[in-house]
């Protein structure tokens, strides 16, 4: 029997606020343990939470960007469970009346659009972090109380690739909103997965497993792949599955059972009496809606339409908001109608220079104006060859000089005048008799070799197109 996986994902996101969700402590990452704490986030007796309104604004932004309906009346609940990283032994979360419900994210599956539903987006606080040493465990409460958003998808995902794509699209949307670092390594974005299998075309859901402890999107995919294999094996053997929570072991590349449904906790949710329910005005929701930035999918469509780019190119350029903004400045400033030329330079040489120093194209500090000048010098005025252009670009990034400055200083301007190249052409023909013969014998490759030799002689300054023309003419004349 063929089985179909049914997957739902829960994403936890740190909201980027200066202070924690319910107290004034800093949210900065990576400082000395327990230096960003106070009676409130340590859960000391008598302390009380006061909600950070910036976190609310960020949360509404995300909910709206995911097309959710933001509730006007919402409240916090307590999720009760004992754990040493949870100083009150309850987490302030949302259960009964979450901030928002019923949204979606669009992805494409083998070039067909697919809509993944969002059940709910709600707010909560993060717990501290346990550090296990040999004989003891330590708790760092710096993270305790950092505002979190939980984004719960519908079980609409039917393959591990879809899960991966959903996460990628979701992450790029979240990055565009500038409400989170979205850094899985720092724990500012985390993902749990629910997965079950059912016979293809069946309607009923199978018994699900909850997967935890995946530290990258790839790990999510790997864990799901493993789980599909494990579950279908069991089903094929006619064994019963149990509802359980399993941990992904990255090293062993397998999932391990953590607890079964019988061991599942009763969180005893109830409304937090320390935090009265609150009203979010229609005006506020509308205001945030109006201020939403153009999101990656809309931007991709617009780039394709306005600049005539392929979907592939457009997607690369909008992968991050800063890159997209930079790319758009370049595309818009380029005087030629053929914007593809700029796109190629952005995606090719510029991206190469950037990634060599572990940067994004927008972080290279090559002003769009300078970049455009370079592309025009190469592609339109043909003052330098594209090979020279690449090294000029490298130098632009390093020295902050303009292309024309560098070309002038280093005397790099391309030689396109045939008369100035005559001497070098003669020499090449004389020195490479075999290649000349090969060419005459019909080997087209030989010509490219000869062009290369001529370029060498001119230290790359010759216009390769002119050289090629000259050689062709000389050799067919003879």
């Amino acid at each position: 029997m063929e089985y179909e996986p049914v997957i739902g994902l829960e994403v936890h996101l740190h909201l980027k606020t200066k202070t924690k969700a319910f107290c004034g402590c800093s949210t900065e990452f990576g400082n000395t343990p327990n230096t960003q704490v106070c009676p409130v986030c340590l859960g000391f007796p008598g302390s009380l939470p006061v909600f950070n309104k910036t976190a609310l604004d960020h949360a509404i932004k995300v909910a709206l960007a995911l097309h959710c309906k933001v509730e006007e009346y919402t409240k916090f609940d307590r999720k009760n469970y004992f754990y040493p990283d949870l100083p009150k032994n309850y987490q302030i979360s949302q259960y009964g009346l979450p901030l928002s419900k019923n949204g979606y994210v669009d992805i494409s599956v083998e070039n067909n659009p697919k809509r993944i539903g969002i059940i709910r987006v709600h707010m909560e606080e993060d717990a501290g972090k346990l550090i296990h040493e040999k004989d003891l465990s330590l708790v760092d409460f710096n993270r305790s109380g950092i505002p979190l958003l939980e984004i719960v998808s519908c079980p609409d995902i039917n393959s591990t690739q879809e899960a991966y794509d959903y996460l990628t699209v979701l992450k790029s949307i979240l990055e565009y909103l500038e409400v989170s670092d979205c850094d899985m390594e720092k724990g500012s974005l985390r993902c749990d997965a629910n997965i079950s299998l059912r016979p293809k075309d069946a309607k009923e859901l199978g018994i699900k497993t909850e997967l935890k402890n995946m530290n990258s999107f790839k790990a999510v995919k790997d864990a799901l792949d493993y789980e599909i294999e494990r579950q279908s094996q069991l089903l094929k053997e006619g064994q019963a599955l149990v509802q359980e929570t399993r941990l992904w072991d990255e090293k062993a590349q397998q999932t391990i059972s953590m607890r079964t449904k019988e061991g599942a906790q009763d969180y005893r949710y109830f409304p937090d009496p320390d935090l009265p329910p609150f009203i979010i005005s229609k005006e506020k929701i509308e205001e945030i809606q109006r201020a939403l930035p153009e999101l990656p999918q809309e931007k991709t469509r617009r780039f394709m339409k306005t600049y005539g780019l392929s979907e592939y190119d457009a997607k690369i350029l909008v992968s991050s908001k800063n890159n997209a903004d930079y790319a758009e400045d370049c595309l818009r400033g380029f005087s030629d109608k053929d914007k593809k030329l700029v796109a190629n330079w952005l995606i090719g040489p510029l991206a190469a220079v950037a990634s060599a120093s572990n940067l994004n194209i927008s972080e290279l500090q090559v002003p769009a104006k300078n970049f455009i000048e370079l592309v025009e010098l190469v592609e339109k005025k043909q003052v330098i060859s594209s090979l020279t252009g690449k090294s000029v670009l490298q130098e632009m990034a390093e020295t902050k000089k303009t292309a024309s400055q560098i070309i002038e200083e280093k005397n790099l301007a391309q030689i396109s005048d045939p008369q100035s190249l005559e001497k070098e052409i003669e020499e090449v023909i004389k020195e490479n008799a075999k290649s000349v013969d090969d060419f005459k014998a019909g080997k087209a490759n030989a010509l490219m070799f000869l062009v290369g030799q001529a370029m060498k002689k001119t230290k790359g300054k010759a216009n390769p197109k002119v050289v090629q023309e000259l050689l062709k003419r000389r050799l067919s004349d003879a």
Binding site: P39, L42, G43, F44, P45, G46, S47, L48, P49, V50, F51, R78, N80, F82, P84, P87, K88, N89, Y90, S137, V139, D266, R268, Y269, F270, P273, D274, L275, P276
Partner: protein, 480 residues
Amino acid sequence: MKLNALTAHELLERLDKKDLSSSEIISSLDRQIQETDSKVKAYVRLDKTQTQTAKQASKSESILKGLPIAIKDNICTEGFHTECCSKILAGFKPPYDATVIKKLKEAGASISEKKTNMDEFAFGSSTENSCFYPTHNPWNLECVPGGSSGGSAASVASDEAVWALGSDTGGSIRQPASFCGVVGLKPTYGRVSRYGLIAFASSLDQIGPLTKDTRDAALLTNIISGYDPCDSTSANIKVPDFTQSLGMDIKGIKIAIPREYFIEGLDTEVKAAVEEAINKLTELGAVSKEVSLPNTKYAVPVYYIIATAEASSNLARFDAVQYGFRSTIANGLIDMYKKSRGEGFGPEAKRRILLGTFALSHGYYDAYYLRALKVRTLIKEDFDKVLKDFDCIITPTSPTAAFKIGEKVEDPVKMYLSDIYTISANLAGIPAISLPCGFTRDNLPVGLQILAKPFDEEMIFRMAYTYEQNTPWHKMKPKL
């Protein structure tokens, strides 16, 4: 009269005239404590707390000029033990002051390291559930002082304190005030910041004064009230000068007398004293009429679901990880939780944690907690309806005068019923006062309860003060 027997306003008058210093008052109180507290046991950890801090005492310009105040053991005082009279908080000295303590210090109060006794985590109506020892009623040492703020009430009644702060979740200020013959106010929910009050039931808790008379209660309420940005449930409502209500006549004031409060279970002597008080008030110009608060009978069960549910969650933080008591025989995390909590909490705390945990559990939530919330709304609506047509409601504070120590320890339900008249004010969030209105044949004080609309403490003070000015009860002193 000895200094320690005077009211706060009398002492303030003399401090004003500078014919007295706050340290003389403190010495006088210390002498009284030495003389009588071995019998009353209003304070805890006296052996550990030899020093009165009089740091604020020099502020001669301040409102309180160094006047000392007794603080219940569940209100955080920076650097001083705050243990809720529970073993589980043994040694806990908060690194911060509760907002009310901050306000008192700003007003120039001397905050003592001596804290007053209470039922563990305010769970009780007799102060017998303290992990230290029970407090005794100054009027009859064989009787309880009421609870949970029994230590605060007894300290004021025995002149071991000028005045005191208590907390009231279901009557914990008013019932001991009634039993000890002092004045005790539970302000409107949200009137006084809860920041730094170690929570019992967050939606019901309120800090309030226990004093020798109504003027002192108004003075102290002035100081501790007001919006606190650190408490999301505190109300951003202007605080009037409550002393302005004192002396206003009560002609034409409409008093509602709820019939559900005068039925079986009410002691005949208490009933007689309260009815006489109502007569007195009508003599003085008020008009009274019987009304109905039909959902009164549900108040106790509703309260014991909501209060224990919240308490079970509020007390989860006492897990021996960061502070307080940790069992020395524990092996591993879960065992540390179990043993520390097992040894650290007393029987009543355990009972309430169990009750509350049950009420919130999957499958029971709707039948218990959710239902209780709905009935709570009905109870509140009862009060809203009556208080639309009336200025205040008058009832007994407690169905009986103080009972004997040990009498109800074995029967928690009987103990719970001693709060039957006070619980509704917490459920409805309205202000209520208890003030002395007579004595039983056994010379035990009887308390009169006055309730008013939310944030209308002015009406309460107005009524209470007028009554007090025309009766001798608040001047009576126990013989110790």
